[in-house]
């Protein structure tokens, strides 16, 4: 699609303005939202589903977002609203997988997603991002759902089909590892 005049001025606008316009049916405003938050949502999804599934999850997230945007009460909070949707979609994907294939066919690339192995961290955030990649998948999922999505223990247990006690145990282990990494970086 051609680059139209005015795109630049709109791309400088705040979330509220852009989300309002997207809700009004403006495809270019929606495109800006996709560009602004596509990587973030992809990173987030890749912490819950297999990274190879993250693209699909993010695309579904945006299709749903486009449909539901007119109902978003506070357009300024579009970022956290998108994270809510991508969390839902990621969990749906995990559930669908549990139903469809019982075979564990993770390939090597999937077991170490994210910036692990990249050049050494330049910030604490990055160091933790790398540490998160080294966590076993189930620990990582629980931690992201608890600390970033803000889910409760019961909700996580429910969504991941795990006993609450297991979720608690996974969270303890993930926190131990991440705290150690965090302290080591200082």
């Amino acid at each position: 699609m051609v680059s139209l005049p005015g795109r630049d001025s709109l791309s400088d606008a705040d979330d509220r303005t852009i989300a309002s316009r997207a809700a009004d049916g403006d495809i270019r405003a929606f495109e800006l939202l996709m560009r602004r938050y596509g990587s973030l949502l992809r990173a987030y999804a890749a912490r819950i589903v297999r990274p190879s599934d993250a693209d699909d999850v993010v695309q579904e997230t945006f299709v749903t977002a486009w449909q539901d945007l007119p109902d978003l009460a506070n357009p300024a909070s579009v970022r956290s609203w998108l994270i809510t949707i991508v969390t839902r979609k990621s969990i749906d994907r995990l559930r669908a997988e549990r139903h469809h294939d019982s075979i564990d066919d993770h390939d090597v690339a999937d077991s170490a997603p994210g910036p692990e192995g990249a050049a050494s961290a330049e910030s604490l955030d990055e160091a933790l991002s790398q540490a998160l990649s080294t966590l076993p998948e189930d620990q990582r999922r629980c931690w992201v759902l608890r600390e970033i999505a803000g889910y409760g223990y019961n909700q996580i247990a429910d969504e991941l089909d795990l006993p609450v006690s297991t979720v608690r145990g996974l969270l303890v282990r993930s926190r131990k590892t991440l705290v150690r990494e965090m302290e080591a970086w200082r």
Partner: protein, 111 residues
């Protein structure tokens, strides 16, 4: 009804519309949105070039064509829309076929 001919015509008409001056996109006419979001993703992943973007339905009273297009801002929409319509109609008359009983062309986007 032969599947192959039915499959071919919409694809040919889609290609034809893409070559009409001022038309930059041919959109799907069958609703994607009411379907699951995952179906849309599926449709996008499978190159939409192969999809039936232009709808052709054959009824007792004749053929009906439905298309939805995006056009550039260079010319007024009514002019490009008529041009697109005429191109679709000529496809039939040029091949000495009876013109469709109805040709619907909707502009979904300007610019």
């Amino acid at each position: 009804m032969n599947d192959e001919t039915e499959d071919d015509l919409p694809t040919r008409l889609t290609r034809l519309l893409r070559n009409v001056d001022g038309v930059h996109t041919v959109y799907a006419t069958k609703p994607l949105i009411p379907a699951l979001a995952s179906a849309v993703v599926e449709a996008v992943r499978n190159d939409p070039v192969g999809m039936h973007l232009v709808s052709v339905s054959e009824k007792a009273e004749g053929v009906t064509i439905t298309a939805c297009i995006g056009i550039s801002t260079d010319e007024p929409a009514p002019i490009v829309c008529r041009r697109a319509h005429d191109a679709l109609r000529s496809y039939f008359t040029d091949n000495s076929e009876a013109p469709p009983t109805s040709i619907s062309v909707k502009i979904g986007r300007v610019g």
